[in-house]
């Protein structure tokens, strides 16, 4: 299973991304589990809504932060997320 460029990315069923006021950070919640996210991971996962493909996510974040060259970092994070089952893809 590897990251497909032609398929939209979404959070897996049962996973929830949520802002935590007490900790001032985003967390990823799933059955009996909790991952505390740094800012860049949270920015990427917020775009994993079943509407965006890899290129859309890269472009959106490069525009948002007025920068270029984010693709490698985004791909490596999404690959980890996919391997861990946090996200999945559909055509």
């Amino acid at each position: 299973m590897s990251l497909q460029t032609d398929q939209a990315i979404k959070l897996s069923s049962g996973y929830r991304l949520q802002w935590e006021e007490a900790q001032q950070m985003f967390v990823l919640l799933y059955p009996e589990g909790l991952i505390e996210l740094n800012q860049s991971s949270a920015e990427i996962l917020q775009l994993c809504d079943g509407q965006h493909k890899l290129a859309d996510i890269v472009q959106t974040l490069e525009t948002k932060f007025s920068t270029t060259g984010l693709e490698n970092d985004i791909v490596s994070f999404l690959t980890i997320a996919l391997d861990n089952g946090w996200i999945n893809q559909s055509a």
Binding site: M1, S13, G14, Q18, Q23, L29, Y30, E32
Partner: protein, 371 residues
């Protein structure tokens, strides 16, 4: 004893043990042996206060447990309240007496996930260990959980009398559509400690079971996630119990004691604070019980000078108490502990025990065993 100087990290995990009542009688239950003498369950309003205060402190993962949480008539109301507060809500259940109407009502109330237990992969053994005929119903409930689109964790507690069914249990988990499987070797507290000679598996059994778990972890990658919880009696180093005392986990017992881990009420002279008398904030930040094992000021040797002390925090204090009589000793699972022989002796005694009579967890036995 010295606590830490830094402000403690906020609780992130709240385990709400709603009741000690349970229709099953599993002989490895982690509830206290004398549970039948513990009276005075918290009211619905008490639980709402606890849920709200804990959420404000930072708790976000919430487990409804017990006993059997389905016994509580206000379960749907408490799930709904917790959902509105923003918790990720987990129901940890035997599945016994659950029907589709309840599964749907809980879904509508915002329940995020259901963990259902099975005691074995065969009806005969499941019903024997559970002390209650429940196998067919549990399987039926598991199917209804998936039909209603919940993520499902299937939990099987492993011990000498069922560990040989590892392969069948994993095949059953696949058949039932589990998203996660928790294969949890028994941890020896409460009833499990009492029945240890009959439950502790041999090293050989464990090696075989672990190999099967590893094989399925590979073949099920991307489909079903398999967690294998190691039996710490056979490890050379202790577990990082509760991710560190008073750092992450908060358990509230049915009668309202706040516990840094669900076994802590058995520690003598420990005075776990009650939510009937204190706010969650006071309990978490100020109480003696929650500060007791924070940091490393409490440690003796060999923990104090150990390079691994920030990794396992000295292990499990309840286990240190149960096996050595002193909770401030190094967890004797550690082979650096001068009292490590308490663990190896226990293994030797257990594997030589042929007698299979288990003491089942029920009110009658609890009354008989009371201190």
């Amino acid at each position: 004893m010295a606590g830490s100087i830094k402000a403690p990290s906020p609780p992130r995990w709240l385990l709400a043990e709603l009741t000690y009542a349970c229709p099953l009688q599993c002989p490895y239950c982690s509830n206290p042996l004398d549970y039948a003498n513990i009276k005075g369950e918290l009211s619905t309003d008490d639980w709402k206060r606890v849920l709200k205060q804990s959420r404000e402190m930072g708790a976000v993962q919430l487990g409804f447990s017990g006993g059997e949480p389905l016994v509580r008539k206000d379960l749907v109301e408490l799930v709904n309240y917790s959902h509105e507060l923003g918790y990720y809500t987990n129901l940890i259940t035997s599945g016994y007496n659950m029907d589709e109407a309840k599964i749907i009502a809980l879904k509508n109330a915002g329940l995020d996930h259901i963990q259902i237990s099975l005691q074995a992969s065969s009806k005969e053994l499941n019903d024997f260990i559970a002390g209650t005929e429940s196998f067919e119903q549990k399987k039926q409930v598991a199917k209804l959980i998936k039909k209603n689109d919940y993520p499902m964790v299937l939990c099987v507690v492993l011990h000498r009398q069922n560990i040989h069914q590892m392969k069948d249990m994993l095949d059953m988990a696949i058949e039932l559509g589990a998203d996660f499987v928790e294969l949890a070797n028994t941890q020896y507290y409460g009833w499990a400690q009492h029945n240890r000679d009959q439950l502790l598996p041999t090293h050989e059994q464990l090696k075989t079971a672990e190999a099967i778990a590893n094989e399925y972890q590979e073949t099920q990658k991307g489909k079903m996630k398999i967690y294998y919880v190691v039996p710490d009696y056979y490890e050379g180093r202790p577990k990082a119990c509760m991710n560190g005392w008073g750092t992450t986990f908060l358990t509230i017992s049915p009668d309202g004691l706040a516990l840094p881990c669900h076994s802590a009420r058995q520690l003598p002279n420990f005075d776990c604070p009650s939510v009937n008398e204190h706010s969650i904030s006071d309990i978490w930040n100020e109480s003696k019980a929650f500060n007791y094992f924070r940091g490393d000021g409490w440690m003796k040797e060999p923990c104090r000078s150990c390079p691994e002390k920030d990794k396992d925090f000295g292990g499990c204090h309840c286990q240190a108490f149960l096996l050595t009589g002193d909770a401030t000793n190094t967890d004797p699972v550690c082979d650096l502990s001068p009292l490590h022989h308490t663990v190896t002796d226990a293994i030797e005694k257990a594997v030589q025990t042929n007698e299979s009579a288990l003491t089942f967890r029920n009110s009658k036995n609890s009354q008989l065993l009371k201190k």
